[in-house]
């Protein structure tokens, strides 16, 4: 009962934070420097690991597909499988998970420490709404960076799959055959579909992480607790959202 209340309260304050942040959209142009800074932080901290992980996910997909499709004599469809599953599902979900781990945790840690050390109180007494200065630029930045990260994830994953298909002798599908299979069945809408998911996940993660950070109460120990809670909540959010969005979009 208590837990349900806490979850509802958290949900309520997150929605409220979103409404507040959106009500200051007009101030974005003069917060340009903050927006750029957060774009840089989100992109820069996540890009290398997105690339590495996407490469291996693409590779593993190709390997698994090669192994299981061999039996049907359907090896030439490896490109299709890697292409579609990266674009529609694994790319966006993976980028979102990495975002939660790297960026979401950092956001919560920063805002929670600002809250605990009364910096947020100071902002409020100065009549500077935290939703405007701390939340809005981050939300805007993630909306811009998420599709970029997801596209890069898709491309690196596809090429990883191609590389493995070519050089694994049990598969031995050349890049031409691989990419023609990929192109034949992976439509533009599939990629867009994935980008929309990534966008939604990213926005949700940053919003939830901001909200949990700003709602931290107590001392330094609670900063750690908030970070843990933010990451766990983000992961649950990704998987739950993923189910419903996939259902709606298919």
């Amino acid at each position: 009962m208590k837990q349900i209340n806490a979850v509802l309260e958290g949900f309520g304050s997150t929605v409220l934070l979103l409404v507040r942040a959106l009500s200051y959209v007009g101030t974005l142009p003069r917060q340009w420097h903050r927006f750029i800074e957060h774009c840089y932080l989100i992109g820069y901290t996540t890009l290398p690991i997105v690339a590495i992980l996407s490469f291996f996910i693409g590779s593993v997909l190709a390997l698994q597909a090669g192994y299981s499709m061999e039996n049907f004599g359907a090896k030439q469809f490896i490109g299709t499988l890697v292409g579609l599953s990266m674009a529609r599902e694994l790319g966006p979900v993976m980028v979102a998970i990495l975002l939660a781990g790297r960026v979401g945790s950092a956001i919560t840690a920063e805002l929670a420490s600002m809250k605990v050390y009364q910096e947020v109180d100071a902002l409020e007494t100065m009549n500077i709404p935290p939703a405007r200065m701390l939340v809005l630029p981050r939300l805007a930045a993630v909306l811009v960076m998420m599709p970029v990260l997801a596209i890069i994830g898709d491309l690196v994953g596809w090429y990883g799959g191609a590389l493995i298909s070519n050089y694994t002798h049990t598969i031995a599908i050349g890049p031409e055959a691989y990419f023609s299979a990929l192109r034949r069945f992976t439509k533009f809408t599939d990629v867009m579909n994935g980008l929309m998911k990534a966008e939604l996940f990213g926005f949700g993660i940053v919003l939830v992480c901001c909200s949990i950070g700003l709602n931290t109460r107590g001392g330094p120990r609670e900063i750690g607790a908030s970070v843990t809670r933010a990451v766990v909540t983000s992961l649950i959010l990704i998987l739950v959202l993923d189910y419903f969005v996939t259902k709606i979009l298919t």
């Binding site: 920063e110 050390y117 009364q118 910096e119 109180d121 100071a122 007494t125 100065m126 009549n127």
Partner: protein, 270 residues
């Protein structure tokens, strides 16, 4: 003449006159859960008065200040700032108030200069060159000339306190609240702070509420002194009354005798 003496405190403040504001607490009670912090506190601070609030630590002084800026909401009773309810966020748009937090509450990701400039930039009240002028003057007044580029983590406790005061000055508030502004400062700097508070009142009609254990500050600049003990306001009066307090609790608080034969901590143990 040293920076910070009354005659050089002229102008972190603009020439625009804003009317002085008063503060009124009506039967303010505050509890955290079952824990009662403030018990039925009532008093009024007149426009451009300097009200000094003293009391043992843990008596609820910081919590009281937070009610005035609207960071805490009363369990019962209310706080009025210039006749607006302090708990209503809109009040901050009617009245410019600044709170100097006990721990400073500086923005750790911003340099000292940016800490001071933030309010002016966010509210777009001045051009960047005018902001520079105001910020540098405020830094000068508090002898912080060379710290503009530093970050809060690189400062000593006393410097942080001064930066917090400078940051509040730059806001040109009508109502200034100080939470133990001199507790970490040397005697000369403490005297400077007293001078600043008095000057703000004399020249700009700023209303000040100062939480402090600094008897010199209270005796020199206070118009009235209130004493808070265990969440109750047990005394309000002019500072002259503090020389010969009638209430033994106040006498013991203001002039505690160091009694080596019969120490307090041993009395407590029994």
């Amino acid at each position: 003449m040293p920076a910070g003496s009354p005659s050089s405190t002229r102008s972190p403040f603009s020439d625009t006159e804003s009317p002085a504001v008063g503060v009124k607490l009506e039967n303010l009670c505050k509890s955290f859960g079952d824990f009662v912090v403030l018990k039925d506190v009532s008093f009024a601070v007149e426009p451009s008065e300097i009200f000094v609030l003293m009391g043992p630590s843990g008596s609820g002084k910081s919590v009281l200040l937070k009610h005035i800026v609207g960071l805490e909401t009363p369990t019962s009773g209310r706080v009025l700032v210039d006749n607006h309810d302090a708990a209503d966020p809109v009040t901050r748009e009617h009245v410019r108030m600044a709170l100097v937090f006990q721990a400073g509450a500086l923005f750790s990701s911003l340099s000292v200069y940016d800490n001071l400039a933030l309010y002016l930039r966010e509210h777009r009240v001045a051009s960047e060159s005018a902001i520079r002028e105001k910020v540098e003057r405020a830094l000068q007044i508090l002898s912080l000339d060379k710290t503009g580029e530093k970050f809060p983590s690189e400062l000593s406790g006393g410097m942080r306190k001064r930066v917090a005061i400078a940051r509040a000055l730059v806001m040109e508030p009508q109502l200034m609240l100080y939470d133990e502004p001199t507790s970490e400062l040397d005697p000369v700097m403490s005297a400077t702070i007293s001078e600043i508070i008095a000057t703000l009142k004399d020249e700009y009609r700023v209303t000040s509420i100062v939480v402090s254990h600094d008897r010199d500050l209270a005796l020199n600049i206070a118009d009235r002194v209130g004493i808070l003990m265990d969440g109750e306001l047990i005394h309000v009066g002019p500072p002259s009354e503090l020389h010969t307090p009638k209430d033994p609790r106040i006498a013991d608080f203001l002039n505690p005798k160091v009694d080596l034969k019969n120490p307090r901590f041993k009395k407590l143990a029994t």
